[in-house]
């Protein structure tokens, strides 16, 4: 029997999850089943193992922006809907490894001048990969208030 399946059944036997939750978790383990990122992470409180087992990798980073006429000065609402594959982000950060060494000093200087004390040479590609991996848990919601109807949403799907 599959290890993940066994853990789910054990949790069901221990009464940690309901039969319905167990069914959904097992269904999520089936190959080809689409599962929203984090969909089940809240379903099995106290069991990180099962949550991690069924959590699928996000494929896209979605950025949604909605702004009304007062913000943009244009007629009608302005919306921006961008979907970027996570793979493209990963490939993009690998570009950092192609920055010539002589450019690092100029970039570091310019960054520190603008209040960002960052040393580019200290950033390794594996750190950037890690950063992209953690983007999967990112959700940003910005809502305007008092007449400002601008909304910004950033999330992975």
């Amino acid at each position: 029997m599959n290890e993940n399946r066994r853990q789910i059944l054990e949790m069901l036997a221990a009464g940690k999850i309901t039969a319905d939750e167990a069914e959904r978790l097992i269904a999520a383990l089936e190959p080809g089943t689409a599962t929203t990122v984090g969909e089940y992470s809240g379903a099995v409180n106290g069991s990180n193992v099962a949550a991690a087992a069924v959590k699928t990798r996000a494929k896209y980073l979605r950025v949604l922006v909605e702004a009304d006429e007062t913000m943009t000065g244009m007629k009608g609402a302005t919306t921006v809907n961008v979907r970027v594959p996570m793979q493209l982000l990963r490939a993009g950060v690998r570009l950092a490894s192609l920055i010539p060494a002589q450019a690092h000093e100029h970039l570091d200087e310019a960054l520190s001048r603008h209040g960002v004390p960052l040393t580019l040479s200290q950033i390794k590609p594996e750190n950037l990969e890690e950063l992209i991996d953690h983007l999967e848990d990112l959700t940003v919601d910005v809502d305007g208030k008092e007449g400002n109807m601008t909304k910004v949403k950033v999330f992975c799907e």
Partner: protein
């Protein structure tokens, strides 16, 4: 997988909108024919900037291969622009 088709659609209330299906796979033909020149230029640039040639090729290839799935939709001033890479 490399991108095969790009879809560009522009709609405006002022004039008739249009949609374009650009067959990106056809770009392989001129690209393969020009590849010796492109690779030589790239090699020269890599040597000039002291960057690994093979790593540059790999990163460029990774970026091209990860383009499918990109989707940009902008709606402003009652005009719409859609760009999709399939």
């Amino acid at each position: 997988m490399t991108p095969n088709i790009a879809v560009i659609r522009i709609e405006s209330p002022h004039w008739r909108g249009f949609g374009l299906w650009i067959p990106l796979f056809l770009l392989w033909i001129p690209l393969i024919l020009l590849s010796p020149i492109i690779l030589l230029v790239l090699l020269g640039v890599c040597i000039g900037f002291r960057v690994s040639f093979l790593r540059t090729i790999r990163v460029c290839w990774d970026i091209v291969c990860s383009l499918p799935g990109t989707d940009v939709r902008v709606c402003a001033d009652r005009s719409k622009v859609l760009v999709r890479v399939l």
